[in-house]
């Protein structure tokens, strides 16, 4: 049995002999697809990995082996923050043993730290459901906030990889110019939506609605994080019968059943909106994601 233990030791030591090959490019781990897309725009030659897709609820992600392996190699981790990834990010950080990305002083970047969040709470109790004291973390659907986040992310990239700072500055300038040119178009498209009322699932589109002036009059979830119950749906039906609601809205990673039930009975259209890049066929980057969101919302008759 001595041989066995020696063998195991040999196996354990072997990989220490391989040192990681030095990489010229920045290795970026994004918690959500929207930040992977933003990072790609700001650092076209970086190696970028997204931990989740637009079809996955970022509140509930498994700290699975592949994510640990990716975070182990990352120079920069980009996440929404405001405790959105509280259930899995700290565990990944611990398991990945990568000191480069453990703190925001170094290679960790939270979008929510760069802008004001909406709906901050002075106190949080478990009975309120799955709420975030630091405010709503789904902040990538506000064009102005996204621009501020892009500037801060670009600065972080330059801080981590100063040799390529001119490339990052150029990419940011390109992005800012294109983005600022788009904002008036989206404002135009949002005009017809201002003042409209919707029933939606969770507060996923809080920032988009806020920016476009849409009012979410009810939530399919009885409490944040809880699935729709039949009694709650019944109360939503009563609300919908007032006749002022434009549509029932769910995000690409949310269950449609409750919304469909309500839509059929209240005779309301049900819209599935892409939550992020890749949430539908049209959303290939942040620009086309916003285009698709406004096209879908304006398509409601």
């Amino acid at each position: 049995m001595r041989i066995n233990s020696k063998l195991l030791l040999a196996v354990a030591v072997m990989p220490l002999l391989f040192t990681a090959t030095a990489k010229a490019e920045l290795n970026v781990f994004a918690c959500e697809a929207e930040y992977a897309s933003l990072a790609k725009t700001l650092a076209p030659s970086a190696d970028i990995y997204s931990a989740t897709t637009a079809m996955q609820d970022p509140h509930q992600v498994q700290a699975r082996p592949s994510l640990i392996a990716k975070m182990r190699q990352a120079d920069l981790v980009v996440c929404a923050g405001a405790d959105l990834e509280i259930g899995w990010l700290p565990m990944l950080q611990m398991k990945a043993s990568n000191p480069k990305v453990k703190s925001t002083d170094e290679g960790l970047f939270f979008a929510a730290d760069q802008v004001e969040t909406l709906d901050k709470l002075a106190s949080v109790e478990r009975s309120m459901g799955d709420v975030h004291a630091k405010g709503n973390p789904h902040l990538h659907l506000d064009p102005e906030r996204m621009l501020t986040i892009a500037q801060a992310l670009s600065a972080k990239m330059i801080e981590l990889d100063p040799q390529n700072s001119s490339e990052y500055q150029q990419s940011l300038a390109d992005f800012s110019q294109r983005w600022q040119a788009k904002i008036p178009q989206w404002q135009e498209q949002a005009k017809g939506l201002a003042g409209k009322k919707v029933i939606a699932y969770h507060s996923s589109f809080r920032y988009l609605f806020n920016w476009a002036g849409i009012e979410q009059v009810a939530d399919l979830e009885p409490k944040p994080g809880l699935a729709p119950t039949s009694s709650h749906l019944a109360s939503l039906l009563t609300r919908a019968e007032q006749g002022d609601v434009m549509a029932v809205i769910v995000a690409s990673y949310q269950d449609e059943r409750g919304a469909k039930w309500l839509g059929e009975r209240a005779n309301l259209p049900v819209l599935m909106l892409p939550m992020s890049v890749g949430g539908n066929d049209q959303s290939k980057d942040l620009f086309s994601l916003y285009d698709s969101l406004f096209a879908l919302l304006n398509g409601v008759k």
Binding site: R64, D83, Q93, K95, S97
Partner: protein, 332 residues
């Protein structure tokens, strides 16, 4: 010999399973993460070597505190309150610090903590899908193995997840039976070496394979006590955190496969897992034992214990879990 082979049909309900936690991404000593878990249950029937009894009962009540002590260290304390046989026990299950800033994928942990061997062992019991740990865990590791010691881990910088670890523990709870109380046990009795690899298959599936080896210097039962020891184990019903079956070498192979539609775990997901345990070198001769040729039993190198389980859990929203398991433990 077949105490554990009895198939008992059981109905176990772990209801009123509630947890409360306050967490922050930036925990600190003045703002630690706090979690409490209460676990009440009702169960018909009894399982061998089980911690839970028939009827209504309270499982483990757990209170945990954890925080980043500074940029370089993380600390955690978990206390567990258990009532069994009419007595209430307070156990310190975890009290450790872990490094956060070692370079090159290395990390070290010291104090009292759950060993990383196998798949289930490093997970807290309240996160289990089943009310009891598989029989192999109950028999060989005393439900779950936590101990005082140190660990060194390494994560390779590869796209395929690959981690390795070595641990050293006092090993008190895994000592072989010592009926006369005169045995001279090693103070650092348990050493482990383990490795895990894992990855994704497309967007929807992920997997992990693990191999662990546990060397227990105090695991050998002395042949003289051979017969007595077995009698004692078979009669043992009292509440215990110690392993009931020990040996010098334990090998564990484990696998996990997880699936969720689109990789979205919110509404539905499936977990398949299984582990195989083999415990060898169970009986030995006491040092200084003189073979007088009169022993009527022979010590065989082929003696071993083995146990395995397979489990599948299908979870679908809103919060329903369908689960089935195949528990087995042979040669016990």
């Amino acid at each position: 010999m077949s105490a554990l082979n009895t198939r008992v049909s059981l109905l176990a309900l772990a209801c009123a399973f509630s947890s409360y936690s306050v967490m922050a991404e930036d925990s600190s000593l003045t703002n630690p993460n706090i979690s409490a878990v209460l676990d009440g249950y009702y169960q018909t029937g009894d399982r061998p070597l089980a911690e839970r009894e028939e009827g209504f009962g309270l499982g483990e009540t757990e209170l945990a505190l954890s925080a980043n002590i500074d940029d370089n260290f993380y600390g955690k304390i978990t206390t567990v309150i258990e009532s069994a046989d009419g007595e209430t026990e307070l156990n310190l299950e975890e009290a450790f610090i872990q490094t956060l800033a070692l370079p090159s994928g290395l990390s070290a942990r010291a104090g009292r903590f759950l060993s990383d061997i196998g798949y289930l062992n490093n997970q807290h019991k309240h996160t289990d899908s089943f009310t009891e740990r598989p029989a192999a865990y109950r028999a060989f590791l005393g439900n779950h193995y936590y101990d005082d010691g140190i660990r060194l881990s390494y994560v390779a910088p590869t796209d395929l997840y690959w981690t390795m670890g070595v641990e050293a523990f006092s090993g008190d709870s895994l000592r072989a039976a010592d009926e006369h109380g005169d045995r001279d046990f090693d103070d650092v009795g348990v050493f482990t070496a383990l490795t895990k690899i894992g990855g994704d298959i497309g967007v929807e599936s992920s997997w992990q394979l693990g191999l662990s080896y546990l060397r227990n210097e105090n695991g050998l039962a002395y042949a003289e006590e051979h017969e007595d020891e077995e009698e004692e184990v078979a009669d043992e019903h009292e509440h215990s955190h110690s392993a009931s079956y020990t040996g010098e070498n334990t090998y564990i192979a484990d696998f996990v496969y997880k699936w969720a539609p689109n990789g979205n775990y919110k509404y539905q997901n499936l977990t398949l897992s299984g582990e195989y345990f083999r415990v060898t070198d169970i009986f030995g001769e006491e040092p200084g034992h003189i073979d007088d040729g009169l022993d009527d039993h022979e010590i065989s190198d082929d003696d071993y214990h083995e146990g395995w389980y397979l489990s599948s859990v299908y979870q679908f929203s809103p919060s329903c879990i369908r689960r089935c398991a195949l528990w087995r433990s042979g040669y016990l």
